[in-house]
Subunit: 381 residues, 2 copies
């Protein structure tokens, strides 16, 4: 996958990951970019998140994003903040741009100081690895991901947008141990972009749940160099499509997952209540286990509706599993064997009508398998 | 274990559970009891919960508690409410007391109407099974529990208090797929009891988390026949001890659990923030998996602190695992092998000082194992 015009990327193995796989990468734009950003709500947010948030608040244009995987540089005390600032400054020096034009992101183990010598050596060596290909960058940001996650849109103007993401565990609203980075050469008004970005994040990355854990490092951002004129509507629609694609890829690649779990909620009092209910259902360990076992145990859907504490009319409540309606104010007769067979699919869809209003929302998750436990009991400190 | 003076119990197999194990039981008091009650906060609360809540609001004395396991009578529409009322009325008829003196509780599969013929037949047959022993009752309320959960206190006056609980999955604040029933012949002032009960529930059952799911059926209650004079302080202390014992038994018997996870939080701004933080830590799937794997991955503790959104001073934050301090404002040097060995225990204790205030709180959970997934993928509808 090629980057949009005016962008280049480099990736290499700086030996931060014990595996020796690529773990340090950068995307650079020839021109200053307008950008939008959302970061973790965790009070233990990592230095890279708080620094990017500060830059975002000051509305400076940016030109580069430097990412390391293998070490989250989180819960590392004051030293961790200094390390992060130094990482940005070094990259700026090498790229011959200002430090405030460099965004940073770190993912991996929490609570260990960054190996700064390796980081510096890696940053100095990036120069020899630049190309206009996006592939190596999108792979170097991975941690426990099994597959790289990329999405692309071409505009009618010829402008392009590419995005990549990482994340498969500690994935929960709001945000997760996830990164999503989107780059475009399409022109967009910065104020418009900023005003729409959080809403798009809410309907995409914040609608993904893998395990209910929220990380210290999550970031989603879009950088646009504005080389090519594009309609605002087309830009925002493309951005939501790319981010939704990436969000679903994260859910499908959830740690240990064997299938994608999609929950559509309609009839809600508001979009936020629809999303809240959908996420609660998609995040229920009991329902996730039932999905793994192909068990149409829709009682667990109602349990999750009940504990989402949103407005529900239980006399009108409807629940469907794989298109088969199983509850409408009361349990309906249905053939459990047929529904169970239909659940033996790589996507299981629940539809829930709360019977209250007109708002709707969708959330994505995955099944809970023995694999999740195995991965996380053995991921070593 | 014997019931307090003036109480008797009966249990039998009414064939509600497919296994044919005992599933219908009752405790009856000779005298009207003062009582206190807490039920699930789920908006999908089962008919037995809403009926008990209504009775509690009207402050009527009660004399009996009828429980069935194997069917939660939840999400059963209007018919389910009628079935529950009928169950209480039938029991009252058999016991020759008023229907408003009979509390009910149902647990098991959600979304199936109660087999009322079996229930009626069972209620009629209870008469032949009464004794002063508590054992059969405490076993008949079980569903996926591996062990019965009972606790007992003897007062200086000779009065006694016995309690039993059930629950091992769908266990999360607030309350869970859990019942806790406490009976005593010690005298207690009803207004005093009611005013303290929710606080005790908060520090005991609401501090237990197994999987983050909150059920439709949860109930905790205490009934006191008031036969024997006792000091109020002694009564309340005994009640908290019994309820804490039962709460820890529920955590230890969490579905698939191999060990008890105890989280002590100190230095919090308030008791509720301490409890919230402790529960978030004890409920983290990632930390639970690490505990299973004997991995002192304390970064996951900080991740959970961050997503509990309570007040934290990260410069003063302290974390200990099995008594070994691993973080104090920044990561500390420690021997991971020694801590990992210490975690190979049937109880793993984390201590977290938030560095803000003087309040403290404790939560209990369990590790997350392949067993949890297996149980819940296969628990059939």
């Amino acid at each position: 996958m090629q980057l949009p015009k005016g962008f280049k990327a480099a990736a290499l193995a700086a030996q931060i990951k014990p595996s020796g796989k690529p773990d340090l990468c950068v995307v650079v734009s020839e021109k200053p970019c307008v950008w939008a950003f959302a970061g973790t709500l965790s009070t233990a947010a990592a230095p890279s998140v708080t620094r990017n948030r500060d830059l975002y608040a000051s509305s400076v244009p940016v030109r580069a994003l430097l990412v390391n995987a293998g070490n989250a540089n989180a819960a590392t005390g004051r030293g961790g903040f200094a390390d992060n600032a130094e990482m940005a400054a070094r990259a700026a020096l090498e790229l011959e741009i200002k430090a405030t034009e460099v965004l940073t992101a770190s993912t991996g183990i929490i609570g260990h100081r960054l190996p700064m010598q390796k980081v510096h050596k890696g940053i100095a060596a990036l120069e020899g690895h630049f190309s206009t290909d996006f592939t190596a960058f999108s792979e170097a940001i991975m941690t426990t991901d099994l597959v790289p996650k990329r999405s692309e849109k071409v505009f009618s103007s010829g402008a392009r947008m590419v995005g990549c993401a990482k994340g498969s565990g500690m994935i929960h609203p709001n945000m997760a141990t996830m990164f999503a980075f989107v780059f475009s050469d399409a022109k967009v008004d910065e104020i418009l972009l900023r005003s729409h970005f959080q809403g798009i994040v809410n309907r995409t990355f914040n609608a993904v749940t893998v395990d209910g854990d929220t990380s210290t490092s999550d970031q989603a951002m879009v950088l646009s160099s504005g080389e090519i004129e594009t309609s605002a509507a087309e830009f925002l629609a493309a951005l939501e499509d790319v981010m939704r694609d990436l969000a679903k890829m994260i859910a499908r690649d959830g740690e240990g997952a064997s299938k994608l779990l999609t929950v559509h909620v309609t009839g809600a009092a508001s979009e936020s209540e629809a999303l809240e209910t959908a996420r609660t259902i998609a995040g229920s360990p009991l329902l996730k286990s039932a999905v793994y076992g192909n068990d149409p145990n829709w009682g667990r859907v109602i349990m999750a509706v009940g504990r989402s504490y949103t407005q529900v009319n239980y006399e009108l409540l409807e629940v469907s599993v794989q298109g088969v309606r199983v509850f409408k104010g009361a349990p309906l007769e249905y053939d459990a064997k047929i529904v169970s067979s239909a659940m033996k699919s790589d996507e299981v869809v629940f539809e829930v009508n709360l019977g209250v209003g007109q708002a709707r929302g969708t959330a994505w998750g995955c099944d809970l398998t023995e694999g999740y436990v195995k991965i996380n009991a053995e991921y070593t400190t």
